[in-house]
C-alpha cells in the first residue's frame, strides 16, 4: 500500500427519497505518472489509482477509469440519486493492488 493514502468524502447525511445529491470525494495519492525521471535520469515507475467507483446499495452510481493524466490527489465531484436510506460506498483501486474504501450513510426522511 502506498503511504499516506487517505480518502475523504463529502456527502449529505440526509436526503429526500429520490433526491439528487452532489458528492465530492478526494483521496490523497501521489499519482506517479510514469513520465517523470529522478535525479539520476531513471524513470520513476507509474503508480496511480486506476479505477474509482461509487455504489449505493448494490447499484452503481459512477465508475471511473483513471489514467496518469489525473492530477495528484484525485478529486471527483458527481451527482447521485438517493432512493432510500442506505450506504454510499466508495472504492479506489491502486496500481499496486491495494483497495481503499470509504462509506457514508444517507438517511431518507
Amino acid at each position: 500500500m502506498a503511504d499516506g493514502v487517505k480518502p475523504r468524502v463529502k456527502a449529505p447525511k440526509k436526503a429526500d427519497a429520490g433526491e439528487v445529491v452532489t458528492i465530492k470525494c478526494l483521496i490523497s495519492h501521489k499519482m506517479e505518472s510514469g513520465q517523470r525521471k529522478d535525479k539520476d535520469g531513471n524513470v520513476i515507475p507509474r503508480s496511480i489509482i486506476n479505477r474509482f467507483t461509487c455504489d449505493f446499495g448494490d447499484q452503481n452510481v459512477v465508475d471511473v477509469t483513471l489514467a496518469p493524466a489525473i492530477s495528484t490527489n484525485p478529486y471527483f465531484e458527481f451527482e447521485a440519486k438517493i432512493p432510500e436510506s442506505g450506504d454510499l460506498k466508495f472504492t479506489w483501486y491502486d496500481d499496486d493492488g491495494s483497495v481503499y474504501e470509504d462509506s457514508k450513510t444517507v438517511k431518507v426522511g
Binding site: 439528487v20 452532489t22 459512477v62 465508475d63 471511473v64 493524466a69 478529486y75 458527481f78 451527482e79 440519486k81
Partner: protein, 139 residues
C-alpha cells in the same frame, strides 16, 4: 540561392503556422481511442458539454467538468499529452446526472476532447483548447 522578397514572406508565414499549431504528438492515439470507445460509429459535434479554463497557469491541476444529458459514458482525452487518455466516466442507474468534475494534468497547450455515449446510442463530441503556462509532466 536567391531569396526574393516574396519567398521571405512565404517562409515567415510557414514558420508562424508551425508555431501556432497545437501539439499533435499523439493525434493518432486519439483517433484510435475514439474508435475503441465508439466501436467505429460516427461522432457528431455537440451533445456534450466540456468545461475547462481557457488559460491554465499550472498544468499539474487543471479543473475540468463534463456533462451530457442522458449519457451512459463519457471519455475524456488530452490530445497533446504523452498518453492521450485522461479518464472514462461510466454512469450507473443511480447517477443523479451524467456529469462529473475532476482535475487533470496537461503537458502543454493543447486540445481537451470529450466524447459522450448518448442515450440514443449515438456519440457526441466536444473539444476545447486550453493554454497551459507551466506543463504538468515533470521531467
Amino acid at each position: 540561392m536567391d531569396i526574393s522578397r516574396r519567398d521571405t514572406l512565404a517562409l515567415g508565414a510557414g514558420a508562424v503556422a508551425l508555431t501556432v499549431l497545437p501539439l499533435h504528438a499523439s493525434a493518432a492515439g486519439v483517433d484510435e481511442m475514439i474508435n475503441t470507445f465508439t466501436g467505429g460509429a460516427a461522432v457528431a459535434d455537440g451533445g456534450v458539454d466540456l468545461d475547462a479554463p481557457e488559460i491554465a497557469e499550472n498544468g499539474n491541476t487543471v479543473p475540468i467538468s463534463v456533462s451530457a444529458e442522458g449519457a451512459s459514458a463519457i471519455l475524456v482525452m488530452a490530445a497533446g499529452n504523452p498518453t492521450p487518455d485522461v479518464a472514462e466516466f461510466k454512469f450507473g442507474p443511480l447517477a443523479g446526472s451524467s456529469s462529473a468534475s475532476t482535475r487533470i494534468r496537461l503537458a502543454g497547450t493543447q486540445d481537451v476532447i470529450a466524447i459522450a455515449k448518448l442515450a440514443d446510442g449515438s456519440f457526441g463530441k466536444a473539444q476545447k483548447t486550453v493554454k497551459v503556462t507551466i506543463g504538468g509532466c515533470g521531467g
